[in-house]
């Protein structure tokens, strides 16, 4: 091959590929409104994104899989944790377990938390070609085998979303402030459990456990069924 042929190959190859790339970019832009629900991209979401930038969250956390690998990915955090959990966590992220990696308290204002959660909610709905992938098998929350009815799965979700594990343990996982719940179903029935969840002080006036008035009646029932099934 001559030097001149090589030069032509360079010029034409680059030009053609650049043209294809620009064409693909233009086409991608036409798909963005539908794939990212731009109609739901409100000012609040944008303000939330600015909070995300302001505290440089992205250099610890990934989002859409991009960023720092030090902390969990935020793409699906809204659907996996829920609004309530996020609000409580963002207010005070200090983990109860000092041995683990923890997130410093960013001292976010109430508005900032609200906007950030709205941003996460919008991100959650982006069509990511099904990323992150569903695990091949799901590790169990408890050591004890559970009959996983819809009701119990929902209860497990309530347990996770409200971070009950910060104080309680199931199968060795969780905090040590509250009692171990691994076999709570052998001692208490669902009626007793739901009364406790609605108003812990009605059972033990000295308890440190906070009430959870934000839980709906359905959620309380589901949580009680889940806990009652732990034998």
């Amino acid at each position: 091959m001559e030097r001149k042929t090589a030069r032509n190959f360079f010029i034409w190859g680059t030009a053609v590929c650049t043209a294809i790339f620009i064409w693909l970019t233009i086409d991608t832009h036409t798909t963005i409104p539908k794939r990212t629900n731009t109609d739901k991209l409100t000012d609040e979401v944008v303000r939330g994104k600015r909070v995300w930038h302001k505290y440089n969250c992205n250099d610890c956390h990934t989002i859409l899989g991009i960023g720092g690998y030090y902390s969990p990915d935020m793409t699906k955090v809204y659907s996996s944790r829920g609004e309530n959990w996020l609000r409580i966590f963002l207010k005070n992220p200090e983990s109860t377990d000092p041995q683990r990696r923890k997130m410093p308290n960013q001292k976010l204002s109430g508005d900032e938390i609200k906007n950030l959660i709205t941003f996460f909610k919008w991100v959650d709905a982006i069509d990511t070609n099904e990323w992150p992938p569903k695990p091949i098998t799901v590790a169990k929350v408890t050591g004890a085998p559970l009959e996983e009815t819809a009701q119990i799965l929902k209860g497990k979700n309530v347990y996770n979303q409200n971070r009950c594990d910060l104080c309680h343990r199931i199968g060795g996982q969780g905090g040590v402030i509250g009692p171990d719940l691994s076999h709570i179903g052998t001692k208490r029935d669902t009626k007793w459990l739901s009364n406790l969840i609605i108003n812990p002080k009605s059972i033990n006036p000295m308890t440190q456990m906070p009430a959870y008035p934000q839980l709906s009646e359905d959620e309380v029932q589901a949580l009680a069924s889940f806990l009652g099934g732990l034998k």
Binding site: M1, E2, R3, A6, R7, F9, F10, G13, T14, V16, C17, T18, I20, F21, L24, T25, D27, T28, H29, I32, R35, T36, T38, L41, V46, K49, W52, H53, K54, Y55, N56, N58, D59, C60, T62, L64, G65, I66, G67, G68, Y69, Y70, S71, D73, P98, R100, R101, K102, V123, I126, D127, T128, N129, W131, P132, P133, P135, T137, V138, A139
Partner: protein, 438 residues
């Protein structure tokens, strides 16, 4: 050295080496945060440290590229630099800009976008620096009698570098579009503009040390860079699999990035070929080692490690894990760090008019940094595979999985310490050569 004005390059090389050292110090701090609960969480939390680590990388590499360019352009163009004053001014501006950026991060002055954390004011300042640089290089080149491919490629590289940077400046409301154009900076730099600059610097060094005809070297330069751009531009698509962009990117990105190793294989082949057909006795054996080592490590870190997780079927599981950290470290070291060290070990002694210099330390630097970076990168890789399998495959909680990865983070730290020793030796070597009386 032929021209007096090439001397401006030395201070670029010195700062490049010093910032390299600082980058590694912050790297060590980062990996410690993975291993133990973090006592510095209040002063330099992980995100701040990461911003400093990555920005120092970019700054020291840009200093290296600019120094290399200022060394090469007068010699290629057969004339003194257009303006030594501008080259000096631009050096100080970049140095101050870089330092203000780093100190700013410590006080939370950030744009909060990974790798592009510099606040918008500083980003525009960088544009000014880049314009001065391009102007100076361009004005020197147009005095030339014979336009060479190395000059053209180098100029193309620095212009592309500056143009792509512009896409990193605006604020995007839509996160998907934010990342879409974010990659125009990140990917089209490292698999576009930087490759152009690196390939032309390397072609120059090969031309000088082997004495192979310019016709031959420049022909290969064209072919390589053509293939880099043909595969690399559309290869940007391998970053568009999961960010909200259409599914056809899995095809475009998958196929074109599967071809990305081709130019690098060619580069290894053609470097070895030039060395085999050398017309000159190579006196600076150290540069020969760095040149060949750079080609081989470039192939391993960028091509092999990149290729391993660029296919959508694999990337689905490894995206956003330490696998990327592994590839990032190996690729940057092989493709760019080693290249800049090659250029420095070629140009700095030449600037001092040293026909011979003590190369013992340089060989130590070579073997220590290469072996330690290899270990470090592979340890990150194992951590990443564990993470992909347990977290993505089995759906185990993020922090629980991090516990299983800890032994490999400790391995990264130990290799990092070794690497740091190599870099200290390098800095000492550079300072000693730079301070030699002519």
């Amino acid at each position: 050295m032929v021209f007096e004005s090439q001397k401006v390059a030395s201070k670029y090389f010195v700062i490049s080496a010093v910032f390299f050292g600082l980058q590694v110090v912050v790297g060590l701090l980062l990996i410690l945060k993975y291993i133990w609960p973090d006592p510095l969480i209040g002063i330099i939390p992980f995100n701040t440290a990461r911003a400093i680590h990555t920005n120092l990388l970019v700054v020291w590499m840009i200093f290296g590229f600019m120094g290399g360019t200022y060394y090469i352009v007068p010699e290629e163009s057969g004339t003194e630099l257009y303006s030594k004053k501008l080259a000096n001014l631009q050096f100080w501006l970049l140095l101050i800009g870089g330092l203000v950026g780093v100190v700013g991060f410590l006080f939370g002055w950030t744009a909060g976008r990974p790798l592009l954390e510099l606040p918008v004011e500083l980003k525009w300042a960088i544009v000014v620096v880049a314009l001065i640089f391009i102007f100076n290089v361009f004005m020197t080149m147009i005095r030339t009698k014979k336009w060479t491919a190395i000059q053209g490629m180098l100029l193309g590289g620095i212009v592309m570098l500056a143009v792509m940077w512009l896409f990193g400046i605006p604020f995007f409301k839509n996160l998907t579009l934010d990342y879409y154009y974010w990659w125009w900076v990140i990917h089209l730099w490292v698999e576009g503009a930087w490759e152009l600059i690196a390939a032309s610097l390397m072609a120059f060094v090969l031309l000088k040390i082997t004495g192979v005809e310019r016709q031959v070297i420049e022909k290969w330069l064209y072919v390589e860079v053509a293939l880099v751009l043909i595969t690399g531009i559309i290869g940007t698509g391998h970053h568009y699999y999961w960010i909200g962009t259409p599914g056809y990117w899995l095809w475009w990105g998958g196929i074109f990035s599967a071809l990305e190793p081709v130019p690098i294989v060619l580069m290894v082949f053609d470097t070895l070929n030039h060395v085999r057909h050398k017309k000159l006795e190579i006196t600076n054996r150290l540069v020969l080692y760095w040149t060949v080592g750079c080609a081989l490590f470039h192939f391993f870190g960028a091509a092999v490690m990149g290729m391993l997780h660029t296919l959508p079927q694999v990337n689905r599981w490894t995206h956003g894990t330490q696998v990327t950290a592994s590839h990032g470290h190996l690729a940057f070291f092989g493709a760019y760090a080693m290249l800049i060290l090659t250029v420095i070990y070629y140009a700095l002694p030449a600037l001092k008019g040293l026909k011979q210099f003590n190369q013992r330390k340089g060989f130590w630097v070579f073997w220590i940094t290469v072996s330690m970076m290899l270990t470090l990168g592979l340890a990150f890789g194992v951590a990443g595979v564990i993470q992909s399998y347990m977290q993505r495959g089995l759906g185990i909680d993020f922090l629980t999985v991090q516990g299983f990865m800890k032994p490999w983070f400790i391995a990264v730290f130990i290799a990092g310490l070794g690497f740091f020793i190599g870099v200290i030796l390098f800095i000492i070597d550079v300072l000693q050569i730079a301070m030699k009386k002519e």
